[in-house]
Symmetry: D2
Subunit: 488 residues, 4 copies
């Protein structure tokens, strides 16, 4: 069995039942429809890399289960180096696609998280989830699949737990347990890369208590499973994806997010890895966010690198030397490196779970999430500052106008600024726009959870009273000093 | 003669020759075409306000020339209060439109700038520009017109002055002087509100020296003048403007920028206010930027107010209390108020020109521009933080999907979060998106010039050696201390 | 009656009863003791300026009460220009002293505040406070005094109102009302410039309700009044003030704060301007903070100017060109100008009280306070960055070592960096240190109240629901959308 | 041979020749003189920890050379874990001392740097430096010494290389090579912990070329070597160190920096590890800064922790609940963790040198330096914000006043705020002051080199053209686009 190729991958997607919609229409073939072909291309590039001698060490690895050569995103992460490779794969990926490729990311992480969780659940409950998961992983490794991951539920009224929602479907739940499997319903929202995935790994979306045990469910479903409808989300710039010729207004790669609508979907037992064991949902979130928020630096660092490249390009296309902006470009580089360095630090400070899975240090990973919700915005701002008005507010006509037979030549005449062709200037400006205010903007803020959530973890992880102890000792203060009592 | 109404205004636009294009097509009627009707509506709202007893004191004033009641944006600004009213009119405008309405802004400012410049040029050269301008102003006041303003040329190779460009058309220039007028050609780019303007006020785009005297030209042209083609610029989200029903994905108002392509346009003498007097181009830029960058706070303060409103709305629509975000909302309010307060400060520290025009303090105005290029980005970031994922990366399906007969109800079901209808949540999220990453983003960064340019003014306005003197005096240092000589 | 001179001023201080202590000792003469002579010098420079033709227009004005020429800091502020002059006087002052001169600042402000408050109290209660205040002002104008102002009480347990404190002295209060005056006791803390003041203007330290009416007191006391003990506060660098020769380690001017300990002080009726009228304490705080926080920009702008000067000086003394740091110096200038511009803006947006007093716009003034608690810190950081290690952490020996007969010459030898004498380099480095981490650091953070207090005013002044209305109108959202009800 | 104790350490310092001066006087015993006893105590605490079962695993390790148990700061760093332990030792150290202890830091780092450099020099030049170094290390390990490290020269005119200085002593240089050793002269400035060191490790202060080969010197000297005079530097707050009773105004531990004046110091060959091999000075700087700037996070993270503790303490001592400031405290925790996490990341991304030494990743380490020059300033600002006025500007009398027999009780009365004794409030406020504006402020900005230097490394390490390549590929731009040629 060899490493799958782009062609294998595209064929596997074409073979799926069409169940993805956008702009009110069913997409017959996600690999060719302009609304989804970019995200598919973003993933196909991973198969190219896996078959490229230059990148194969990064994009493939040896299965810890079989010793076979497998796609790296189908492998278990059991060491610092495995997690560093996760960061580096994302980094390499963003370099070539300009943005996010969700189906070689969240599902990969989910696999190692559930590897640990199933290990612990089996020990406590005598279940066989770990073996099920292992068997599923073996299959995925053999078939060389892309697997999206899905956490976020619709949630409904956020002040109420799932079991008290007016609409119980607001969170994915088990509605029926059969001998051979379970039936689930509900929705998972904003699922990155779902249109480009072969399968989708579902995790519980939050920490649940006993009354909400029906919502404690983890399983994997094929993307075209019966009962699943996917509606692609829409962002301001995405109608540009529909323009012809492709590649003028936006790159030929890029991210998408989908809404997964599950209408009584039957999942056979061998694909179910948690069913009502609510007690372990806390650890699912803890392990998942630690690794996800550590490795997220791989993404934002390198989208920042592309912004540096795009900024130099627009500067030159505007007729200016990149040296003019060297201070800003260096600041961008500093801001970029923070999230990558912090990610590596969270990994270096991490620990190994008894199951073999390796998890990053929590407080460092969550601090990194806060940085990711801040620094890329500053890098974008600098990209717009360097790029000039034609980058910032779309102060440039469309490519339809650029290529208009009558006045198009005038647009081009006035786009000429010395250093390159009008077309290159047009494209460079559109790239900076796409990266900062267009379709290439990934979810720095809320992807993988909100910074306020991360801050809550930082707060909980900060031993404030221990720090008070240091201060007291330094000044030899011995009396007890506590918060004043609440006044009535 | 009474104050013109929305109907008068729309009729005046309909009467113009169609010469505005977008997406490769001629727009027959800018008042109804979806690509331009929003910017027209943004301006029409000004006529409504001018005829509304609640706002008439703000939107109308007494002509200093005739004593007649006129539209305020057709009035000369000759006092602190006049400039404060400019800020307040923009502020009120943004409240109702959510963004920029260029044709009641730049042309208004240009009029007072040229009032001073023509006064000074006439004194030096014995020309009659001031009288021409006065007559034109009288006409505009009587007719109650909207007037866009145009500074930015195509520029070409930025390291070369206009007269050394390979293509002399890279900057607007006088190609012929006739007895009855002048012929000009070239282009003005990124001109806000041009599609909604009756006329366009041209100013020189930079400071010119003698060899570039052909480029020192100021005049006013009707929007549909012979030889003028306007191509509307395109931004990521603007194809949403074309969607039906209108008002779901984006507001019914909003900004546009156009490229003005001038192909040997004849301008009669009575509309020409500068022709080759290169020596005064420096003051045009100085006066214009001082007032523009002082008053710009009126815009960004209140777009920030709308972002506060939209943030509260999305929070509630997400099922959360606005109180949860009170710290962030207060920070937004602080950041908003800086640009308004600084603007008022620049005005308070300003001065009156012998012609009567009042100009804001330069260093304060340019400092304000630097703030405007920074703080609104932070307010947007907070808007996305409060709004959650459905605001940030367009993680919400299109309205076509929302209203799809089959799966639309499911989209709506999962959008339900307790506090309001799914439709309101959809709209609120789209508004925050439009304000932060969509079509409502105005040009904080480069509108009215770049922050680096503003910093150059700040640097030049900072008496560094005087400050060295304070330091030396404080420590009683008497020896001369200068920069080391350059080493060879 | 002419404008008083430095000599008059020093004589007036020498005539006072010694009641100022520091480091455990009574200061016999504040004008010569090294712990207080710098703050006295900071004030004496104001008398110099008032008698200097170059500055007399700024430092003196015409009394609105008598038409006589008076010291400006003894005048009522009744217009925009009066307040702008307040900013400009502080600015000029900081230029020559490097820091704060409290006794020509808070008392001046207090006078105009109480001018309005007494006007309103008299109208409601039929009291004669306004006339008393007027008479006192007439005396001060004639005598040309310096007047510190005192708001901050010791406070005790901050969660309890004054009347419920275990120690009622925690806030200044009226303990006895006699026919001819009142007796007060308590303490006012951190009172800037008290050692250099002829008199001290007491204001209530907070907003009080009826049970706390004993604490609603405003009056003026001579600095050496019977029962008053002043203890000077100590900051890290202030022992350098005691070194000889003076002027090497620190400038010869500079700020101090004192603790005023009032032990049953009798204040005659003609000096009492509020006694138990608790209802007006809210307006005292409102008026005082608006003007104080507007004008505070005059201080921090120009201390930033001195930091620019000191930074250029240290750069050159280090052997580097100031041009190396031009980007940072320009950033410093931008940050400096914000607080001045905002202050002017708060004034421009202000209003006139029926009594004649002019007050700045509240939200803008409080926003300015938030800026003042942030931006000067960044300017200091840049000062340390430019100055190098000898500025940052005191990595330079003392002047005692610099001038040591044996190894002093070696210190000087190794301080030589090309551009100036070792002594000038020593002094320049010490100045930057003094400004950023030494005795010259004024109270950006808590002076005039804390930024969190200012944010509370900003929050209260932000019409959040009005802003929600703008957002709803833009998207044509008509349903009512409110915060979710609190869950039980 | 056992691990040395505090007593051993203090005895070893007492045995040294007195050659340390401050405030113009010779310090006879650095272990008891108030100007130096704090920095000695900071180091003595390390010996305590090394003999404390709770900390011995951190503070001691097994010698890679002998297998003996040694003090960790005398060990070679040859793995990720070794460097992580460096960070953790510093972190633990700062917790107990509040600031920097230089003689268990820079010398430790220098040893591993020169381990690699001597390895490479020997290979190229056939020298025996590595063996010399090894022997010296063996001695240090056996004797359990503290070793400061010294890089920064006086420099003189920074625009000239050492060999062209007017005064050749501006940089440490070899003036004579004898059979048995070398003679050096010059000065090393701002050397942390020199007064508490047994020995001092000298490294070249910059990258030198052939004409400057005399300045390429590395060796170790005893702190009391003949010809060496040390003058302690002075910072604003350090005269508080001299106050009695100790421990009221400042902690009993704390940092110092010294100027080392070398007047023809003879260093025997066995202590010389580089002599004129200028070619390797580049790598000395590269290796040293990478490890130093990676591990620096250990320091600033935990000084930030102490600031959190001190902030909570002051809040409570002020009578407020720490909860009031939870948002700020969490922000502080986030900012703290960045530098620690980035440091661990730089280590995780590092590499092993053929000699065995392990070095951190350069771009990440230098990015960390930029963070260290920024974030601690924000943490300090927040500490002052939380602490209130008595923390910010020293608005509190001295302890001499606090304990004054007459008015001291009044000071204490008015310091009472409910939660603790006046003395504890006094001490807590002084601690926050000491940490933010007093003697405990370490050199975040310039310690270990300036952030501008770090940015130059980041710039040089950023493959800008590679990033341009990504951008071009994304938009399929194939033409070459370069900077415009310089105009003449």
């Amino acid at each position: 069995m060899g490493i799958k190729t782009r062609e294998d991958y595209l064929a596997s997607l074409k073979a799926l039942r069409p169940n993805v919609y956008k702009f009110g229409e069913l997409i017959e073939d996600v690999t060719t429809h302009p609304a989804t072909k970019r995200v598919v291309e973003s993933h196909a590039l991973n198969f190219d890399a896996a078959n490229d001698p230059e990148f194969e060490d990064l994009y493939t690895t040896t299965s810890k289960l079989t010793g076979e050569r497998i796609l790296r995103w189908n492998s278990l992460m059991q060491s610092q180096q495995d997690l560093i490779f996760n960061m580096k794969l994302k980094r390499q990926n963003y370099r070539r696609t300009g943005s996010c490729a969700g189906a070689v990311c969240v599902g990969w992480n989910a696999q190692s998280v559930m590897w640990a969780i199933t290990h612990d659940m089996d020990a406590e409950f005598g279940t066989d989830y770990h073996e099920r998961l292992k068997n599923w992983i073996l299959g995925v490794q053999e078939k060389g699949l892309t697997v999206a991951g899905a956490l976020t539920d619709a949630k409904g009224d956020r002040s109420l737990p799932p079991s008290q929602q007016a609409d119980l479907d607001s969170n994915i739940r088990v509605t029926e347990i059969r001998d051979d499997g379970i039936v689930i319903r509900g929705a998972k929202l904003m699922i990155a890369g779902s249109a480009a995935a072969n399968e989708i790994f579902l995790l519980p979306g939050s920490v649940y208590r006993e009354p909400d045990q029906d919502f404690a469910v983890s399983c994997v479903i094929p993307r075209d499973i019966k009962g699943l409808t996917i509606v692609e989300a829409s962002r301001p710039g995405d109608r540009r994806d529909l323009e012809e010729p492709a590649g003028m207004e936006v790159p030929n790669s890029g991210p998408t997010q989908g809404w997964l609508l599950l209408d009584d979907v039957f999942v056979p037992n061998e694909r179910v890895f948690m069913c009502k064991e609510f007690k372990y949902t806390g650890n699912v979130i803890t392990y998942f966010t630690a690794n996800y928020r550590a490795c997220i630096g791989g993404c934002f660092t390198v989208q920042g690198h592309v912004m540096i490249g795009s900024s130099i390009l627009t500067a030159r296309a505007n007729g200016l030397s990149a040296k003019t902006f060297m201070g800003k470009l260096t600041d961008m580089s500093v801001k970029n490196q923070v999230t990558f360095g912090m990610g590596a630090g969270a990994i270096a400070l991490g620990y190994k779970h008894p199951s073999g899975s390796y998890f990053a240090d929590s407080i460092t990973a969550h601090t990194n999430k806060v940085m990711v919700a801040t620094l890329p915005y500053e890098v974008k701002r600098l990209t717009q500052e360097i790029g000039g008005g034609i980058v910032e507010t779309g102060c440039m006509p469309s490519y339809k106008d650029f290529s208009h037979p009558e006045y198009g030549p005038l647009i081009q005449k006035y786009l000429k600024a010395g250093a390159c062709s009008p077309e290159s200037r047009f494209k460079a400006a559109r790239l900076s726009e796409w990266l900062t205010i267009g379709g290439g903007v990934p979810g720095c803020m809320h992807g993988g959870g909100s910074p306020d959530g991360a801050k809550m973890v930082v707060k909980a992880s900060t031993p404030m009273e221990e720090y008070v102890g240091y201060a007291k000792k330094l000044m030899n203060i011995t009396e007890e000093i506590v918060d004043p009592p609440k006044k009535k």
